[in-house]
């Protein structure tokens, strides 16, 4: 395996980490107004992700940095091409980051309500937009001979990509609900999660299946080797298992299942493009690949050494931080 392929895999790893970890943050944020009905409950919900959300967001920064370092042309084409979409994601991330930290800094109910609404919207919007973005990567976008994006913001919004956005939103919301189910210790929140589980689960499964079937016709999902076919099948099985396990009351197993399903979806999306990193719908010759978009062998070597040294260390202390906060958050843990 060459370093270009290794870096493609590392970027899948980083996005998997991002979608699994920051994914449940988005889900928890999206569910905030639905599962928490008073100020104490809302603080409990937010405190389940409180110690972790910032580190979870770093996965995105690392993935972005890794694309920049390993595949500069991919970074340049993607970020300049998806300009307005990324601007919206940035606004959402700014607002939600500030909202979770500022909302408890004043007692005023309208102050808190404002930030809670902003936190919900700031969580929902990126989940949706990342789904749209990933779907666009899978179908391809117009790219010219100079590797430049040749569409507009509205080129990115097709029925398939919008369905992808809704799919991501639903999957991450369900995933966030499972995390919340594991981490909160408040009976009233528990009850609402229980009531919501089968409904949300079924809607999520139906929409996801629709999206996958649609993808089979509009992307390289079933024409690009065996890997995406296997992973998409696994994703489906794992998602169904997650819903069944949750309805049966095994939230822990359901959460593991949904985490693995999200990893499989991430692998599926990227593997269906491989070895392209941005498919050109203008001409196959204009597509960006892991070779024509990449950094020099020297830079890839340096980055490989750094990444293979640092990532295991990061994983160890991240795991430690989850261990420290393994207990459920209750009304008594509101000192923040």
């Amino acid at each position: 395996m060459d370093l270009n392929t290794l870096w493609f895999i590392l970027i899948i790893v980083l996005f998997s980490g991002f979608f699994v970890l920051e994914g449940f943050d988005y889900g928890v944020g999206t569910l905030l107004p639905f599962v928490a009905k008073n100020d104490t409950e809302r603080r409990v919900v937010l405190n389940t992700i409180g110690p972790h959300w910032d580190a979870n967001e770093v996965w995105l920064l690392t993935a972005g940095g890794a694309i920049f370092a390993a595949f500069p042309n991919w970074y340049a084409t993607l970020f300049s091409g998806f300009y307005l979409a990324l601007f919206l994601i940035l606004l959402a991330l700014i607002v939600r980051g500030v909202a979770i930290d500022f909302r408890s800094k004043k007692e005023d109910p309208s102050w808190r309500k404002t930030w809670d609404i902003l936190f919900c919207v700031g969580s929902l919007l990126p989940a949706l937009l990342f789904g749209v973005a990933v779907s666009n990567l899978m179908t391809g976008v117009p790219i010219d001979a100079n590797m430049e994006y040749a569409g507009t913001f509205f080129t990115l919004l097709t029925p398939f990509t919008l369905l992808g956005g809704v799919t991501f939103l639903l999957v991450l919301t369900f995933h966030g609900m499972l995390f919340l189910g594991l981490k909160n210790g408040v009976a009233s929140i528990e009850e609402r999660i229980k009531a919501l589980s089968p409904k949300l689960g079924i809607v999520m499964l139906v929409v996801t299946v629709l999206w996958v079937v649609y993808a089979a016709f509009t992307t390289n999902l079933i024409t690009n080797g065996i890997i995406p076919i296997i992973t998409v099948a696994l994703a489906a099985v794992l998602l169904i298992a997650a819903v069944i396990l949750q309805v049966k009351g095994s939230t822990g197993k359901a959460f593991i299942s949904s985490s693995l399903a999200i990893v499989m979806v991430t692998i599926t999306a990227f593997a269906s493009m491989f070895p392209n990193v941005m498919i050109s719908t203008t001409s196959a010759d204009y597509s960006l690949t892991i070779y024509n978009a990449s950094s020099s062998p020297y830079t890839l070597k340096i980055m490989t050494i750094v990444a293979l040294t640092a990532v295991p260390v990061v994983l160890v202390y991240l795991a430690w931080s989850y261990w420290i906060f393994r207990k459920r958050v209750t009304e008594k843990d509101l000192h923040y």
Binding site: E57, V58, F79, I94, G97, F102, S296, Y298, T299, I302
Partner: protein, 460 residues
């Protein structure tokens, strides 16, 4: 406005804004770590109060630094795709490394620190803030390594129409980095020192929690003075090395149009960029030669000669930065630095006297306002550093025209520019309101102090 102007404006606004929060994060994380260490060592509850009080203000500031920092990483690709293609082989690496070796530590251990007061042992809790503080400095190192490449490219070769890395070690040992990094770290310490001095003085004037704020003032005063001395030293040395790395930036900073030996130093100048001359200046003969070379003979190249030299090397064009901007931002930064040195000395002197600090009412009012000085210096310093590189994005290698994204619709750019300005303005107001609220909280009860309303309202 065209694409280039819009993109420059947006990058300038978002970067200066981001950097309002960064130095305080760097400096205050370190000072809070020291306070908690004192608490762990002595068991004195007052140090715990100090840790918590200054820690809360630190966290408000930190949140803003984080959210505005994400914008920075995205913008290179969004607005400067030509640049990203050209230097991605070199520039992407430090950004990725920064996230891997600094942001993960910073965010994880701050999360642990905020929520872990009763979940960790005292010592481990204290270690968390030290790790987070160290990570903020590590993060500064990597991003400045990237910026230093733009200022003074090293360890690369031009290949396949782009700059490719040939020597990672050369990036690490870039001479520009090794003055810029200490300059930024010490400016962080200075910012945090005056932040504590300013807020403590403000509370002392109001008569709030005398014991707590006098103790904080003493602590902040030492940090402010050490910071001011070091930042002036680092800044001075950085300027000296810049005279070799980027002579045009130095010539513009001094509004020196013609080569002089010895070169004079101007306090003020009436700059006429169009005719490439000064219509008058208040100067000290030989002053600039002395500042740069410690003698009264050394030659300093003037803007006109450097322009000719650049044209010979890179073809015809305008290689002269906006001289008045560079000249005056440099002077504002230096003047603020000088003032901070004087105030730092004064602050340390009065803490050595027997009288209570509240006895120095007028001085305390001045100290309250001194909180803003580092911010003025930080912002003007960066404006000088970045605009002084004109017209280059990467010095000598790529101009702004070649670096900017050309595919982006100017309408989108206008939307994003206006959007950022609106959101950032609202957040600035909210942040100041919150900071003020938490700056006048009673540190002993952690409740709000009911204002006594005896004049002295600096903030409202």
């Amino acid at each position: 406005m065209d694409t280039l102007t819009l993109s420059r404006l947006q990058f300038g606004v978002t970067t200066v804004y981001h950097f309002f929060f960064v130095p305080l994060t760097i400096g205050l994380s370190f000072l809070v770590a020291i306070l908690e260490t004192m608490y762990v060592k002595t068991g004195d509850e007052r140090y715990k109060q100090m840790t918590k009080f200054w820690g809360k203000l630190f966290l408000i500031n930190f949140s803003m630094g984080v959210v505005t920092g994400i914008v920075q990483e995205f913008q290179f690709g969004m607005n400067w795709s030509g640049y990203s293609r050209f230097v991605g082989d070199i520039f992407g690496a430090p950004l990725a490394i920064e996230a891997l070796v600094a942001f993960f530590i910073e965010s994880t251990f701050l999360g642990v620190w905020i929520f872990g007061w009763d979940k960790l042992s005292k010592k481990l809790h204290c270690v968390s803030i030290w790790l987070a503080a160290a990570a903020t400095s590590i993060s500064a190192f990597w991003i400045l390594l990237a910026n230093s490449f733009m200022q003074n490219p090293v360890g690369y070769t031009l290949n396949n129409g782009r700059a490719e890395m040939t020597d990672f070690g050369a990036l690490l040992t870039n001479g520009h980095l090794w003055w810029q990094f200490p300059h930024v770290l010490t400016s962080g310490l200075t910012t945090a020192g005056f932040f504590i001095v300013g807020i403590s003085a403000f509370n002392i004037v109001r008569g709030n929690n005398k014991g707590f704020f006098e103790k904080s003032f003493r602590f902040g005063a030492v940090a402010a003075l050490i910071g001011a001395v070091l930042v002036i030293f680092a800044g001075h040395e950085q300027t000296r090395s810049l005279s070799e790395e980027q002579p045009m930036k130095i010539a513009a900073a001094e509004a020196l149009w013609e080569t002089e030996a010895p070169a004079s130093f101007s306090f003020i100048a009436n700059i006429d960029q169009e005719n490439r001359t000064n219509k008058g200046a208040l100067s000290v003969p030989g002053g600039l030669s002395f500042l740069l070379y410690y003698n009264f003979e050394g030659e300093v190249k003037g803007i006109n000669d450097l322009q000719a030299q650049m044209e010979a090397e890179h073809g015809p064009g305008d290689y002269i930065p906006p001289v008045a901007v560079i000249f005056y931002t440099f002077r504002i930064m230096v003047a603020a630095g000088g003032l901070m040195l004087i105030l730092g000395i004064a602050a340390v002197i009065i803490t050595r006297k027997k009288a209570a600090l509240s006895a120095y009412k007028k001085l305390m009012l001045i100290f309250s306002w001194s909180l803003f000085l580092p911010y003025i210096a930080n912002a003007s310093g960066w404006i000088m550093a970045e605009m002084g590189r004109y017209p280059w994005v990467v010095y000598g290698l790529q101009t702004m025209e070649d670096g900017v994204s050309t595919v982006t619709n100017p309408v989108y750019l206008t939307i994003s520019l206006v959007g950022f300005i609106l959101v950032y303005t609202v957040l600035a107001i909210v942040t100041v309101i919150l900071m003020k609220r938490y700056a006048i909280r009673n540190p002993e009860t952690d409740k709000e102090i009911v204002a006594e309303g005896k004049g002295a309202s600096l903030w409202t």
